[in-house]
């Protein structure tokens, strides 16, 4: 069995801490070359000492220098030289079944680890298959780098076999992309793309690699990854505006902290939690912000927006001061903006100046790194808002608009029950990945998130099929003791189900839960509400039996039809050492509430269909 075919093993805590100490020691010895140290004790030193001879080797060297541990990809004609160079590297490659799977796995790896995930694809169809995953990472500001093969430079523009204008196609969905044209520069192009993916507001970057460039001779060693000179990031917010924002917070009687995905990406979770607790400010999150604040805390109002909790939406609608951190005020969060926090002055903390006043006007624009700016604010706010009445009101809303649901025994299983069963059976640090649809919303609503980087989903793009490949990437980025649970819907699961073969090959310990209602349920819910119940193309009773299909892939299959099967099945699936699939047949009539219709007023969320 060749080295290629051996399953990759997830990083263990011991490994990573050993690598940490190794890195620290190296930093003391040689601060210049600290980043050159591979992240794991290397058994084969040849890889890191052999001089570069080709563009492809320079590409791999750049990834090693940047500290990449995994690459997710699919082989192909134009990318072959890069794979050939990867063959001798310590970087571990995970062959995915489809390039879309590679892009989502890399994306999830980036979300969980905080370091850019890497994916490879060949030219033409390989590159176009990455597009959905790149667009997804772009919408969610996830750090990711895509390296695509390209036909040789002399053939570019001739409509050659498997030629696509990849930089042209991906221009609108990348933070930056480059067509690499020089074997001497290609390593630095990759290093720059890597640096850009993780710097400032993260995002996906792409380097297109023509075959003559990767095959070309070079002895140029790529340097440390660095962002181009034209790229500037502002760390500290304007002190005067911070001072004014602090005064506003002190005078506020109905403050709300709104935490977006930027809090987690900016590693500002601790700073934000301390600030909220010290000044007793109720906390609402966006969907990407799940995990930024513990949802079992008294101050937690949980997620706001279209399917947010009633109490979160009441708090946002009625607050007088809204402190938004790392959020872009997406339309699913705001509903119709004329009714969004209409009595509130807005303090907006964001690292990207373009997000300030893009959708919601900010009276107090604070451009900078989330953690830095929250610390600036914490230093400046000297007295807490007088908000006792407001907090009592928030608690009242929490009981008034409770998320409690009914579970009549004579009816099919209600989906929240399955979500809660998995939540209870796993640790606080368990990672949840999802596809997109009703199942995703139930996971948001009924899983109690307490830790950052434990929620891995497709928010801005809403990519059905995201969950399973994301679980592959998340599993490899996670610590050994973190369970990985993937919620999927029947329609969503079917879109990337081939990646189950990868999970089996790598023996990845993930538990897939299909909340199966034999519909693309979110569409069906809208058809019931707005299209007179005409179920055009939303009935999925033609789906396969997922438990049987899982077994065909070599995974472990389970099925749930009744409440009394839930606990035992969940326990058995979690205990199984490898990928397992629970086909949970839920109430096909179950819908997601609360719901704010598109462009509606958050404060007038519907609690049932007759209120829409």
């Amino acid at each position: 069995m060749s080295e290629r075919a051996t399953p990759v093993t997830p990083r263990t805590e011991a490994d990573s801490s050993a690598a940490e100490t190794e890195r620290e020691r190296e930093r003391e010895r040689n601060p210049e070359a600290a980043a050159d140290v591979s992240t794991e004790p290397s058994s084969n030193t040849d890889a890191s000492t052999k001089p570069v001879t080709t563009g492809a080797e320079s590409v791999i060297r750049a990834l090693e220098t940047a500290g990449a541990e995994y690459v997710f990809g699919v082989q192909g004609g134009a990318i072959m030289p890069v794979y050939d160079a990867l063959y001798d590297s310590e970087i571990r490659h995970v062959t995915m079944a489809h390039e879309q799977g590679a892009s989502h796995a890399a994306d999830a790896y980036g979300i969980v680890s905080g370091d850019p995930g890497v994916c490879f694809a060949t030219s033409g169809p390989g590159a176009t298959n990455l597009v959905t995953g790149i667009a997804d990472a772009d919408m969610d500001s996830d750090p990711m780098i895509a390296l695509t093969g390209q036909v040789p430079t002399r053939m570019v523009g001739n409509d050659a076999f498997q030629e696509t204008d990849t930089t042209g196609v991906t221009k609108p969905i990348t933070k930056a992309n480059t067509f690499s044209s020089d074997p001497d520069r290609v390593g630095d192009d990759v290093g720059e793309a890597f640096a850009l993916a993780g710097a400032g507001r993260p995002g996906p970057t792409l380097v297109d690699l023509p075959k003559d460039v990767t095959l070309g001779d070079t002895s140029t060693e790529p340097g440390q990854p660095r962002t181009p000179d034209t790229y500037e990031v502002q760390e500290h917010a304007d002190p005067e505006t911070v001072r004014l924002a602090a005064r506003r917070i002190e005078q506020s009687t109905k403050p709300v902290l709104l935490l977006g995905g930027g809090v987690i990406k900016g590693s500002a979770t601790e700073a934000v939690r301390a600030f909220a607790v010290e000044h007793e400010i109720p906390v609402v999150t966006t969907m990407p912000g799940l995990g930024a604040f513990p949802e079992d805390h008294e101050l937690a109002m949980e997620m706001a927006g279209m399917h947010g909790t009633g109490y979160a939406n009441m708090a946002i609608t009625h607050c007088d001061t809204l402190i938004g951190v790392g959020t872009r005020f997406d339309d699913r969060l705001t509903g119709g903006i004329e009714h969004f926090a209409p009595d509130a002055e807005v303090i907006h903390v964001d690292i990207d100046p373009a997000e300030i006043s893009k959708n919601i006007h900010a009276e107090y624009p604070l451009v900078g790194d989330a953690e830095t700016v929250i610390e600036q604010l914490a230093d400046e706010v000297t007295e807490s808002p007088r908000a006792t009445k407001w907090r009592a009101q928030c608690q009242q809303w929490k009981s008034e608009y409770s998320m409690a649901y009914r579970t009549p025994e004579d009816e099919p299983v209600q989906p929240p029950f399955v979500v809660e069963a998995l939540d209870e059976a796993t640790s606080d640090r368990a990672i949840v990945t999802t596809g997109v649809g009703q199942h995703q919303m139930w996971a948001c609503q009924y899983w109690t998130f307490t830790e950052p980087r434990t929620w891995v989903s497709s928010h801005g793009l809403g990519t059905m099929g995201y969950g399973l490949p994301a679980a592959v990437g998340a599993r490899l980025a996670a610590e050994d003791d973190q369970e990985v649970v993937c919620f999927e819907g029947d329609g969503s699961f079917l879109m990337t189900i081939q990646e189950l073969a990868v999970a089996v090959r790598e023996n990845l310990n993930i538990t897939v839960v299909v909340l199966n209602n034999e519909y693309i349920g979110m569409v069906r819910q809208w058809q019931d509400a707005f299209f007179e119940g005409r179920h055009a193309a939303s009935e999925y009773n033609w789906c396969p039996e997922f438990d049987t299909l899982a077994e065909a892939f070599g995974a472990k299959g389970f099925r749930i039809d009744d409440y009394d099967e839930v606990a035992d099945t969940v326990e058995a699936a979690l205990a199984y050492d490898g990928p397992s699939v629970i086909d949970a047949h839920i109430d096909p009539r179950a819908n997601v509430y609360p719901m704010v219709p598109s462009g509606g007023d958050n404060g007038r969320f519907a609690l049932s269909e007759d209120q829409l």
Partner: protein
Amino acid sequence: MTDRRGLEGPAPGERPAPAGKRNELGIRVDPEVEAARPPRRTVISALVEHEPGVLSDVSGLFSRRQFNIESLTVGPTEDEAHARMTIVVEEPDPGIEQAKKQLRKLIPVIAVRELEPDAMRRELALVKVNATRPDRVAAVAEMYGGKTVDASPETATIEITGSRQKIDAAIDSFSQFGIREISRTGTTAMARGTDDTAAEQTKAQPADQRHTVPADDD
């Protein structure tokens, strides 16, 4: 499927409603007096890396974000590594701010600045007219400081440089002869005096990073 499935709690009509409102730009307004924000035309100058693909980066950005663009010109500068783009946009204020910020985010863009109203703005046009009355054509050309760059028995082509308004007026006058073709460059512009148009040192703080007085000053 209209059986009562859902959650408990007061219905929408039974809930307190907030007093305020925002306009379509996300700015809090007094519901009594909702002032419309008219678009205005302005010139944005961008200093960019002189490399292939930058023009498509910028034009793609403007079309993708639906910024209303009047013209875009680009050419080399005193530094051969840099090029200058001059973009005329017509948008309400928040749209102009957003265009500048999105432009600044592009990696090859070095500096972005919106020019003052007094900046020098020039455009060049070539106007090909029927030359049945060459003396009259020459007179109109002279009136607008234009010069004839090509003449044939049937046609005359005049080159005119100046502000947009001046060129519009010239074209208007030439139309009496019958215009065969027009080609215009779009506006290029520069700040006056020692004021930098958009240079690497341009580090002016964007207007929207400063506190603004809220709509209702409480």
